[in-house]
Structure formats: C-alpha cells, structure tokens
Amino acid sequence: MKGLRFISLLAIAAILLAACQPTPAPTQPPVATKAPTPEPKAEKVKITVWFHSGKGEEREVLDAQVKDFNAMQDEVEVEAVRLPEGSYNEQVSAAALAGDLPDLLDFDGPFLYNYAWGGYLTPLDSYVSDELKADFLPSIIAQGTYGGKLYSLGTFDSGLAIWGNKAYLEKAGVRIPTSVEDAWTFDEFNDALEKLQALDEVEYAIDFKMNYGQGEWYTYGFSPIVQGFGGDLIDRTDYMSADGVLNGPDAVKAMTWFQGLFQKGYSNVKPAGDDDFYGRKITALSYVGHWMWTPHKEGLGDDLVLIPMPKWPKRPATGMGSWCWGITSQSKHPEAAWKFLEYLIDPDQILRMTNANGAVPARKSALAKSDLYGEGGPLNIFVQQLDGGVAIPRPITPAYPTITESFAEAVQNIVTGADVKTELDKAVQKIDQDIEDNQGYPIK
C-alpha cells in the first residue's frame, strides 16, 4: 500500500513540477492522505498513541500494555509510536504545527503548560470523576492542571531527597531523620556536611549528580533550593516576571550557599562517573531522585538510608513531576483515547509500570499495594513529601521551556565560579524577554 502510494505521489510530484505552464490548476487536490482501507465489519476505533522511548523497562511495559489492551477488548485499537526522547518536545511541536498530532501522547510534566496554552491538548475534566481525582497524589493533579482545567494524568511521579551512607553518618555522629517531620533543619544539614567532609573515607560530603550535565536535572534538582530559601523561578502570583524573585536576595543567598559547597570542596563539580556514592563510596550523601534506588541498594545494601529533604531556611521544598499523558485537541476519537488512558491509570497497571521503572505510583490505591512506597516501605519518604506539600511543581506557565533553559545555564555558570547575581540577572532577563515576546502568554 505504502509502495503504491509512493509511486502515485512521485507521479503527482512530477506532474506538479511539470505543471509550471499557466494551465488551469487542478480543482481537486490529490487526496492521498487516506488510502482506502478495507473497513472491517465490527468497526474498531483506531487511535494513535505517541510515547517517548525512555528507559528499557518502561518501554517494555508500555509495549506489553498496548498489546494487552488491544487483545482484551474489541472497541479500540491502539497503534503506538515510540519517539526518541532527546528531541521529543520538538517533534510534538512540529506535529502540532502540521496538525498531525496523535490521539494520546505522553510528555514531561512541565511541558504541559506550553502544550495546553498552545491549544494542543483537550481538558480531561469531563472524564475524571472527583473520586478518581482524589485518589491521585496531589502532585499529579497540581502538575496536570493549567488555567483551572485538568489536562494530564500521570501513572507515576518522581521523588527527590537525599540518600545517605549509614556507616559514614554514624561514624560522623550525624542524626538520621526517618520522616518528613523530623527532617534536618538547615543548620543541622550544614553541620552534617561539615562532619561528613571531615571523615577520612569521604572525599566529598555530598554528590549533586553534576555528571548529569546541564539540562532538566538542574532545574528539577536545584530550583527547590532556591524555593526553600524563599525565592522561586518566577513570580507565581501572575507568572508575568521572574524579576525580584529569581534574582532577589533570597535566590541570591540560596545560590551563593550552593556555590559555596563546591568552593569549599564539599561537592565535586565534575565527578568522574555516576558511582561516587554507591560504587567508589567517596561521597557520604547523594542528592538525587527515586530512580537511583536500584543501583544505590545494590551498591550499599543495608548501609543505604533515605533522608528527607532538609528544612530549608524559609519553607520546605523538593522536586516532583514526571512524564504524563494527555489527549490532544486534534484527536477525532477522544473517548477512545480516554479508554486507553483509563486502562493505563488502573491501579494494577500503574503498579505494573512502577514495579518496572521504580517510580512513585501516582494513585493512593496503588501506593497502598506497593512494597517500596507503601506505609513502612523503604521509599515511603518520597510519598510523604509528595502528599505532604513539600514537593513544589515546576512553574505552571507556558514560559517553562525558557525558564528551565535559562536557569540551568545559570546553575552551570554558578557552580563553576561565576558571579551569582550576574548569572541570575541574565536568566531573569531571558525569561522576562520570552514572556514579553509572547504578550504575557494570555490564556485564549
């Protein structure tokens, strides 16, 4: 079929090229988009689903879920397309422009606002009952809401905290907090860093995963520090400017403290690899998310402890958000797309996914059944942070892509010794410029 189409289109192209003479233009453009397919009698609605080719386990589970879904019912046929993650956002934007978006797609949480603002997504409110909504972690709902409407649901969330080497912590005489309530105070945290740094085994007190490089990690990981000090990436009252917030005294103080950790040698700007904490064991703490559970557990065994995010000087803050699903406004079969999404957010399907990728299950009913995240589970602290208001969603604004890019660049320069205020000013200028260029991203 494709081959025939190719030849026919080649012919059309040749005719179009040759038809430079002022002959009457063909009245009917060639209808090549939809080749006549034999319609089956019991009509199955076909929907296209795009998802990013992330981790291997995630891919495998999703492939299996698509297969199972197609087999278990005969109303909807899902055709899944895997796109490379590195350029996923660009591909979605190009497809949106061409009017070629699929029915359902997944995307990294903070990109939602740009998509929703651009009109690519359709609200899910009519499909999601209050009861269902209440079963989701508040972070998932917060991440999926823009302009008062719910646009996305994730099957999992992420968690950010500090992993510790129990042997080193005990040797240094540092208290090990076990719940969000008794998290380290900021002074305790600084004191712990100092004591851990003094140990012979420890080269760097804390690993900030700088080996991940400049990118989304910087915003995900380090904007909570700015927020904890009282600053933020943007003024969230109206999302119109970052001035005075991202470059205000609180933010400057936060990033100066952060820069100081590298300058004092408490952390390594250029780690040689990923395993300073769990392999070489030259760092006592590792500031990173839930996704490091398996390597950490394998490397440290019973010495591994998960420590909640410290109580920052002004307010609690940590990272959250992950990939989530949305139905596009270009979908001709939103009901069918919802049917598949409904299947994906079923607690058992959520657990199937999170057991494979290790992420935080998005629904409370699934969490209760999770060995890792349930009550008393080794990773329950992440849930406490997500459910207890510690986690802060990344800025809910279509300007997010610019915000994250500018902030990540500032972080990169700051950790390598640049002037904090100058770098934050630069970031603010870029963000404000973007907002101005888009007339403040008015909600249409």
Binding site: A13, R82, E85, A98, P271
Partner: protein
C-alpha cells in the same frame, strides 16, 4: 618561501641545508599539529567507543587520556547499540534517503544546469539569477511552509517526504553550470552537426567530460544530506522511516547518558561519510583545483 639558493653561498652548503631542514621541520610540525587538531575529535570518538568502562570514558574526557586506547577495550558499546534499537533499519533508511536524493539530484540538477548553460530560451538569464539568489535562503526559513505543504499532500512519515524536496538544489545547479560553461562548445557543435539532439549531447558529450563536478556535487550533497536532522525530525514518526541523526536522540534521554553507546553510534554514522569521501576524493580535489583556475 623562495627556494632559490642565496647568491654567493654554496648552493647546497651546510648552512643552506640546515636552514632548509629547519624550515621543513617547522612546516611539518605545524602541519602535524593542524592534522591532530582536525583528527582529534574523530580519534576521541573512535577510542571512546571501544572503551567498555563507562566511568573510565567520563574520567578520561577532560584529559589527553581520551585519545589513548587503554583499560578494558572491546565492542560491547557497539553490541549495546544493536541491542537497544533496530540500527540496521536506521542505517538503511539513511542510506536509501541520501542515496536517492544524491542520485536524483545529480540527474536533475545537471540537466537544469545543462539547459541553462547550453540551450537558448527566453528568460534563461532570469532563471539563472533566481537560482543563484535561492542559494542564500537557508532551509530553516522555508521549513515550516514546506512542512505544511507536505502535510497537505499526506506525505508525512515516508521516504519520499525526505527525498523529493531536496532533489533540486540551487547550489548544485550553480556548480554544474559553472563547470559546463567552461567546456568547449566546439564539441557539442560537432555533435549537433552529426545530428545529436540536446539530450544526446548531454548524455554522450557533457556527462563523460564532467566527472569531477559530478563527484564534487555528489560529495557535497551526500555530506549535507547525511547529517540532516531538522527535517526528518519534523516529518518522521516511528522507526519505519527514521534516519540515523534522529535515531541517535534516543540516547539523549534519561540521565546519566551512556557515552560509550553514543560514541559507538556516532562512529557508525561517521564511517560511511569517510568511505564516500575516500571513494570520490581524487575527483573532488581535482574539481576543486580546476574550478579555482577557472575562477
């Protein structure tokens, strides 16, 4: 850099030889340094692609050790690439798309250039000016209108959407044109006297005389199309038609990035480029040299 011996001194005396030797030595030193400068990225890539230990790759990155194959070496990274994705499919897609574009381009562009250089028809000069003017328009400027157009045709996610828009290329036409106007007209006139039509003259006279320019255009077109990223990113979706530069994006996903795999993939993308260049190198250099003389 005159090589004439200094008058009065012995032509090949010790001083002269020392001076000449030193000069040669410095020239070589500069050339070697320059060669390293250009070769380093390739050596870095190839060496890193065979280092099995990911930590070692990262550790070596910021030092000269990046260029030294040591430690645990092997083809594991290459195996990983094949295990993670249908690399063969992507390679075929790239080769097919680029091959078709280059081959189609050689035919179409050389014919256009031949018509412009040899045939007499109204508006010829205007068309030529227009084509030259088109050279300066970057692809990015027309990418979005082109995307909307091909979408209307229903061409998205196919081979032809990656081939057809790039067959006609103003720069190639210009190169062919420059070459063709330098060929002696007597040859075609003799052929015309013998009864040859324009197509026969093109095929039997012009084509055999123009191998260097065909090689040059082929190499330039191959290089620019092989690395093409933006367009295939916009118009391809699944594995079926995805070319290599888009496929590599799969590795730039979750942190930490596995550099060994990325280098192995990059090495496999680069090798065909080197092969094509080496195959056509002789003609390429010849063409560049002669086109320089013609001015």
């Amino acid at each position: 850099m005159s090589a004439t011996p200094v008058t009065g001194a012995k032509p090949y005396g010790l001083g002269y030889r020392v001076r000449k030797g030193t000069r040669l030595g410095i020239t070589y030193l500069v050339m070697i340094l320059l060669a390293f400068f250009f070769l380093f990225p390739i050596i870095f890539m190839l060496v890193s692609s065979i280092k099995v230990n990911e930590t070692q790759i990262i550790r070596d990155m910021s030092s000269l050790a990046a260029f030294v194959p040591y430690g645990e070496l092997g083809l594991q990274n290459y195996r990983d690439v094949f295990a993670q994705m249908p690399f063969g499919r992507f390679m075929f897609n790239s080769v097919f798309v680029v091959g078709s574009t280059v081959f189609g381009g050689l035919m179409v562009n050389s014919m256009i250039a031949y018509a412009l250089a040899r045939l007499r028809f109204g508006g010829r000069q205007f068309i030529l000016t227009l084509i030259i003017a088109l050279i300066i328009i970057p692809f990015e400027a027309v990418a979005i209108p082109l995307l909307l157009m091909v979408n209307r045709f229903g061409w998205l996610d196919s081979y032809h959407v990656q081939i057809i828009p790039f067959i006609a290329d103003p720069f190639s036409i210009f190169l062919f044109y420059q070459f063709f106007i330098g060929l002696p007209k007597d040859l075609d006139e003799a052929a015309v006297v013998d009864g040859a039509g324009p197509l026969r003259v093109y095929w039997n006279i012009i084509l055999p005389l123009s191998r260097p320019v065909f090689a040059t255009v082929a190499i330039l077109q191959f290089l620019s199309n092989w690395g093409k990223f933006l367009w295939p990113l916009m118009v391809t979706r699944g594995f079926e038609y995805r070319p290599l530069p888009v496929a590599i994006q799969q590795f730039f996903s979750q942190d930490p990035k596995v550099w060994g795999d990325i280098f192995a993939f990059s090495a496999m993308i680069t090798i065909p480029v080197l092969v094509v260049f080496l195959l056509f190198q002789k003609w390429f250099v010849q063409s560049v040299a002669t086109s320089g003389i013609k001015g």
